[in-house]
């Protein structure tokens, strides 16, 4: 047994109610544990118990006992506990000190007074374990997010912890970067037998690797077997939700498991007839041959697309393919060097404020701009800036924010903050919504909320473009898919074709049941 939590109850310094309640849990050595649950349920707080950040760094009221590797985690100084329980955070940029990879990994070892030969041996070992030997002499600022996150893991591992704690390590990364980090964590666990705790929303990658799942919700924690957890959790991977509908036993967690265990049952499945494509109206946005460059780097190289009333267009493609640049060019945050742009068939107005009155853009991290004391003031501020005729009460109700109208945006959970920020950006209800990675780091409840808002918007003649990497979320809402690559349109297909079996971006369910995209599309 590597850790024991005994009747732990914890309240943050400014908290009115406990963030964690009466948690009683043991953790066996060498296990791979996924910590899952709804946003603001207490997952990150739970994780911080194991290295003493809660309550040593956060303060607040603490009851109970936490023992990690035989030491009292609430009393052992973090300097010493860091040797036992190493932690990697969400944001790879907010956890590095030195500017070269080798120096960054060596920094903590130097502070411990290790001999250079011992340091070199440890650095070689962790670089090899994480397959980043080629990055040894690189500067951190030249690395991608996935590479930086692996360097952060290496820096923690070099101290030789027995317990590795990861707080949403892939939430800030694109799919390629996330895949590299997941592979690295999986390999480390397999090769070194390192006890690993991962807090994560994107369960499709981590759940198949887990020995246990700790479900944290409303401050309570319960340990479950992964399949038992997937059988009940709303945010389980699509293949598990399909298996749940079909009553498959054992419940598959990946398409490969489903094929291997239930080939006959899958072969008998038929898709529900897909709904008729919703009628589309007049052209709202027309972009033709847009070219845009940042210095000598071309971001758009002749990109074209048309968006019509009633459409939800998923804009997909690898990093730096031009997705964000296209959205920025539409609202005037970037000036294309060539090409034509039309709003409703006419030349767009000049200026960001005027253009975003017609095509409202929600950029990445919109919550950065929240600054008012309450949610209501934040929405009122947006309505006043736009001179909108909509009443504050109506806007709050439309965006489902009435219940939290008097709360301080900074005290809300990440998911709630994201909703407030999206509402603040689009409170004036422009006909076109442009959303840049709105589901990154979002919990299932926020994704469902956004999908519902988009359906209401397009049903009333609006349209939307959503830049995203999330195939499953896009398949649930998009009517069309445009993939960019190198600043050009790679393909422009109906969503049923793009995400379907044989399409370029098949969903998990489409791989199992041709003709269906989501678990709900399969006839049972």
């Amino acid at each position: 047994m590597i850790a024991t939590l005994d009747r732990v109850t914890y309240t943050y310094p400014a908290g009115h109610s406990p963030a964690l309640r009466q948690i009683q849990l043991t953790l066996d050595e060498g296990r791979f544990v996924v910590v899952a649950g709804p946003s603001a349920g207490g997952k990150s707080t739970f994780l911080r118990l194991f290295n003493g950040l809660v309550p040593q760094f956060s303060g607040g009221r603490f009851e109970g006992r936490v023992r990690v590797c035989g030491r009292d985690a609430t009393r052992t100084p973090s300097r010493d506990l860091a040797l036992t329980a190493g932690m990697v955070f969400q944001d790879p940029e907010a956890q590095s000190i030195v500017d070269r990879v080798e120096d960054e990994i060596a920094f903590a070892l130097e502070q411990r007074g290790l001999r250079p030969s011992e340091m070199r041996a440890r650095i070689d070992g962790v670089l090899r374990a994480l397959a980043i030997e080629h990055l040894r002499d690189r500067r951190l600022t030249t690395l991608s997010g996935g590479e930086r996150q692996r360097v952060a893991i290496a820096a923690v591992l070099a101290l030789g912890p027995r317990l590795l704690l990861l707080d949403e390590p892939t939430s800030q990364l694109d799919p390629d970067g996330a895949e590299l980090v997941v592979d690295a964590i999986h390999r480390l666990h397999g090769e070194r037998g390192l006890t690993t705790l991962v807090v994560e929303h994107r369960l499709d990658r981590f759940l198949p690797l887990a020995d246990d799942v700790v479900h944290v919700a409303d401050g309570a924690a319960a340990r479950l077997a992964p399949r038992r957890f997937a059988a009940a959790y709303a945010g389980a991977p699509a293949v598990a939700r399909l298996g749940r509908r079909l009553g498959l036993d054992p419940l598959p967690l990946t398409p490969a498991e489903a094929y291997a265990g239930h080939a006959a049952a899958l072969a008998a499945l038929r898709p529900r007839p897909l709904p008729a494509r919703p009628p589309v109206g007049a052209e709202l946005i027309g972009a033709r041959g847009l070219e845009l460059a940042y210095g000598s780097i071309a971001a758009l190289a002749g990109a074209s697309l048309v968006l019509k009333e009633g459409e939800i267009l998923a804009l997909m493609g690898p990093n730096a393919s031009g997705k964000s640049s296209l959205l920025r060019a539409i609202v005037g945050l970037a000036e294309p060097g060539a090409g034509e742009l039309h709003f409703g068939g006419e030349r767009p107005p000049e200026g960001v404020a005027a253009r975003s009155a017609f095509a409202g853009l929600v950029p990445q991290q919109p919550a950065l701009a929240l600054y008012q004391a309450t949610v209501a003031e934040e929405i009122a501020d947006s309505l006043a800036s736009r001179r909108s005729a909509l009443s504050l009460a109506a806007a709050l109700a439309r965006w489902g924010l009435t219940e939290i109208a008097e709360r301080d945006p900074r005290d809300l959970s990440v998911g709630q903050q994201q909703r407030v920020a999206i509402a603040a950006m689009l409170a004036h209800e422009p006909p076109v919504w442009l959303l840049d990675e709105p589901t990154r780091g979002a919990d299932p409840a926020t994704k469902t909320w956004l999908a519902e808002r988009l359906r209401v918007h397009t049903a009333s003649g609006g349209a939307a473009i959503i830049a995203t990497h999330d195939i499953e979320a896009a398949a649930a809402i998009a009517t069309r898919v445009v993939r960019l690559d190198g600043g050009r349109v790679d393909f422009d297909l109906p969503a049923t074709v793009a995400f379907g079996a044989g399409g370029p971006l098949p969903t998990q369910v489409a791989q199992l049941v041709p003709g269906a995209l989501l678990p709900e599309d399969v006839l049972v």
Partner: protein, 358 residues
Amino acid sequence: MSTVAWTGWVTLVMAVALTTTNPLYLTIVLLTVILVAAISPKTEGAGLGIRFMLVLGLALFVLSIGVAVINTGSGEHVLLTLPRLDAPDKLGGLSLGGDITAEAVVGGAIRGTVILSILLGFAVFSAAVSPHAVLRLAPAVLFHAGLVITIGLALLPSTLADLQRIREVQALRGRAAGIRELPAIVVPVVMGGLDRAMRFAEAMEARGYATPPPVPAATRLLGMASAPLLIAAAWIWFYYPEIRWMGVLAAVAGVAAVLLWGWDIARRRRTTRLNVEREPLLLFVAGRASFLLAAGAVLADLGGWLPTSYNPFAGLPAPEFGAVGALLALAPTWPLLFLASAEGRPSEGRAAPEAVLQ
């Protein structure tokens, strides 16, 4: 050039500039720094930093002259006379305007040249050496102060990026640019910066950087005692010349207390280095000699033995020019010997631009 050598050089520039009021020597120091700035290796971004510091230094040079001429009023060589405004005695008796004298202009120019030389020297140093490399050189006793500065520097670029993002988001919300909209920009930047700093501090705590080993009470007492001892030493030295020997005793005691405090902390925080910068013998000697020369210049100035002072208000005499002062002013030229042979190569601290763009 190594980090130690650059640190020695910038220390020497600062010491010589601060201990010299002779305009001839100061001009030599300034020209020396400009020459080193021109030939020192720098990335594109670092070049921008030097230009910024040059503009700031020139602005402060002009401001220094401006402040000197409008509130001095003393001197015999009157250039022109402005209307005079005297503040009441209760407010310090400050006078603005009146006679604008050549002495005041020269005095302001001397102060401005000191500021310009130091700013430019630091810009060159910052362009050539990574702050992280300096942090790794910091003695154990200064580790936490260095860590705070390094973290601040690490957060600066992300804060500037936040500023740009928030301006864009507010424009997308339909807010017009202008002074009334400042809170919509400043509040989120400050809140975001605090939030980022907290996350950074938490990450450092989790890695065990933030918690030093415990220091015993006796050591802390030594550290606390050193400050009043050194202040007392300076006080006695300048205001009670008849008992200067007591000032010397207090200074010795203060320095001893600082050294013991630092030694004990360093002993408890045993650190090592993975990579030690290798220096040719000549560079090693030049870097360390710079520290010694800087310390010697400061001590000689305190003792009044340095022939580099000049008082323009003593009738605006022609500044003297002697061998000692000239050699001291020329001392910061030594990096030219090493840079001339390594021109075009990146320094150890900063990568070349192409490496950054990989």
